[in-house]
Symmetry: C2
Subunit: 135 residues, 2 copies
Amino acid sequence: MTFILDPRLENDSVFICDLPLSQVRLSKNSAFPWLLLIPRQNDIVEIFDLSVADQGVLLNEMRVAAAVLKKLFTPKKLNVANLGNVVPQLHVHVIARFEEDKAWPGPVWNSGVKEYYADDELNEITAKIKKELTA
Amino acid sequence: MTFILDPRLENDSVFICDLPLSQVRLSKNSAFPWLLLIPRQNDIVEIFDLSVADQGVLLNEMRVAAAVLKKLFTPKKLNVANLGNVVPQLHVHVIARFEEDKAWPGPVWNSGVKEYYADDELNEITAKIKKELTA
């Protein structure tokens, strides 16, 4: 079965790599180092709609994503969340947060803070993250 | 070692029960059925600061909490998150969301939406949730 990515997720983020369960993408919002993990299964909305085994795989992949953000960016705090009120397709946010970021200490969603990577920045950061995720 | 609960978490929520790893509490904000899972270990900030085994236990407890909210409240969506930008002590939010709730589709944090349970309502809802969590 072909995995179908919600066009809003596709539009708001760029592909980094596939892990065993999830597609990993980087949010185009450069105000925060912000990964999305999207299990490549159709019609899954909640983490708990996955099989229990796949929930464990997702947790592993969240741990890997978190470790990569910690290593590359040394954040003050990680924000890890599945909301999905707007886009129901299951996607887990793993976000590096800093006391200096423009939404701190509030959440990033609905913060109104939106910045953009230059093309070469985007290429550089996705390559760096991909290298760590697949190391 | 005595488990020390952050006074801000204690003040914003009421005790429901202890699961094997986490203390489960209900947010006093009645605008949303909103559980907090707080692993009873001191000096833990990130989910990934827990041992890998305890991360699995936490995932189980999140699944149980989510199932209880689904059964009791039939939400449109669950919001599951660890932010901790304000209160670093690890606490995972498991929140039942509805298209009719006052923050939908935005996140509940920083939404400005705050309502209060009457005492008898609070007793009733905590008893109902406790019964399901410990069934």
